[in-house]
Subunit: 334 residues, 2 copies
């Protein structure tokens, strides 16, 4: 959505909120109005070196750019929400063990650093959980009281809404990517075996493809990657390879969909939620046809197979994480 | 606990409640006082022929016998709760598809039939869910705000307490026995493949043992069964075979514990509950040493492995299902 600079009025300034989605490869920032409509947005790459202070500085730049696009100054925002990886202490805004960010093995006071730099209060939440809440409040999950959000990207993350409220357990709930679907199965990037993410995470899928190529398998995946000038197999490259009926890509994706189907079905057998929302880089890129394939793979594993949950693609798209993060700064929330 | 016939007073009569656990092999009935202390109990075998009306008649006999043991008449009870298998409509007391009960493929108004026969209001709940609530309110789960109950017996059932309240989803939650732990794995009694119950349900374990014996495997399991005059491998027989270091029994139990460990760990990764309570015939019989073995098998699959949940054996033992069912009839509950 293009920035609506002319929308600036004193009323907007008082109720506009910021949202930042801090990902392993990119930072998305938005400024939204009271109705969560996007007034401006900006994107920056996540630093690959340095440490938490450098990452925080990039978040400030991204949000300042989104504010500029909206014709606002950061201090005019009523608040900013951040969706962060790692272990988030929502009460203090501290983030620990964000291992896909540079130099972030320890704990860093992200909330307080950003509050000082931006001149407005900053609240921090778990990235996947805020994206799930975004879909629940504003996106594909709007008409349901309980849902499981599955974010299918570099890893496989999950978020839960039960009885209309987020469920985070002791702070670490939602790890559907680490549901064991094959005892003694493939090694997962997390170090364990047989997790959903070992088959369905884009990182694991790429590692699998590289391994198979080393053993002589034929594929266009890496040719497509080089043509695009990338060093990683992005969602777009996987999509392109599938269109070209690349055999290896097809096989790896089939295994990913089978693992997702079994893992999500197990979660549904346990929780009996009304809906499952599929998001993330691959989930959004592959869209409705793949949501239907995942539903088909779930079906044989569903215990109550006559009433499967609704399966929906995340509606907020690439900005969903940032729009969901902005909900953290809504009035009436602590 | 022995019946306390002398405890009868008009005050007890007004506050005493009945509880019935309707199982596939036996019916347990209790009468409890306002503090859930057992005043009397009775057990009868579940009918193997006939239909829902015959099962209901046996429930009436079991509860009447428990009342007699407590020195009360059924109509003096403030209410009766029933834990039932199948799909339970808690609002109406109707039970559908209780396939381990004779002639119960359809729907039967169990609550209204029992209310008419017993002369007091009867409420019906899911058997595993009421047993979980019993452990939460009165047993091993008392000090936790969230827990997963795992009932390891003929099948593997589960119940959830989240934020101090039962979570039943759309009415079918808790099916941890049908978590897929091995894609393409062993056939489950439910007809699906690779479920926890395919490895850990006593029914599936016995089928596995019979199959292995047919193929020439040596075991004392069936000799022990005949010595005891049984036609099924009961929990006691499995326990005895393990004491004797029976190789086949050991191997089947190892696989059961591995499947339980992976399935429960996956549930904990998703929900991050504070505690797991292990009950059911095998769970209670095997007790603390096996709860520790399950915890050890969970450990390598836990995503947040530095703070595993507490693992506890169900404290209410064999009467837990009936005592939990009696909670349904507590004042203040609908």
């Amino acid at each position: 959505m293009p920035a609506v600079k002319t929308a600036f009025t004193p009323r907007t300034a008082g109720t506009a909120r910021g949202g930042i989605d801090l990902g392993g490869t990119k930072i998305e920032a938005v400024v939204v109005d009271a109705n969560s409509m996007v007034l401006g947005s900006a994107r920056r790459p996540t630093p690959t070196g340095g440490g938490p202070n450098d990452v925080a500085a990039e978040l400030v730049r991204a949000l300042t750019a989104a504010c500029a696009a909206a014709g606002l100054k950061p201090e005019a925002l009523s608040g900013v929400g951040v969706g962060s990886p790692g272990i988030v202490d929502a009460a203090t805004g501290a983030v620990s063990s964000a291992r896909n960010l540079p130099g972030w093995d320890g704990t860093f006071g992200l909330g307080s650093a950003l509050t000082a730099a931006l001149g407005t209060r900053v609240l921090v939440g778990n990235d996947v959980q805020v994206a799930t809440e975004g879909e629940f409040m504003l996106g594909s999950g709007k008409s349901y009281g309980s849902l499981l959000g599955v974010f299918w990207g570099t890893g496989v993350g999950g978020g839960l809404i039960l009885d209309g409220k987020p469920w985070v357990g002791r702070g670490g709930a939602g790890e559907i990517g680490h549901t064991v679907v094959k005892l003694g199965g493939r090694r997962c990037p997390c170090g364990r075996r047989g997790c959903v993410e070992a088959y369905a995470g884009r990182g694991a899928m790429e590692a699998r493809a590289r391994k198979r190529v080393k053993k002589g398998a034929k594929t266009d995946l890496f040719k497509l990657m080089e043509e695009k000038g990338h060093t990683r197999l992005t969602s777009a490259i996987w999509a392109r390879a599938l269109e070209r009926r690349d055999k290896l890509a097809n096989k790896i994706i089939d295994q990913a969909v089978a693992a997702l189907g079994a893992g999500i079905a197990s979660a549904v057998n346990l929780l009996d939620v009304e809906a499952v929302v599929i998001g993330g880089g691959l989930g959004v890129r592959f869209g409705e046809p793949f949501a239907m394939r995942i539903a088909a793979e779930m079906q044989p594993h569903l215990f109550n197979d006559t009433r499967p949950p609704a399966i929906r693609v995340a509606a907020l798209g690439d900005l969903g994480g940032a729009i969901g993060a902005a909900l953290l700064a809504q009035a009436g929330r602590s």
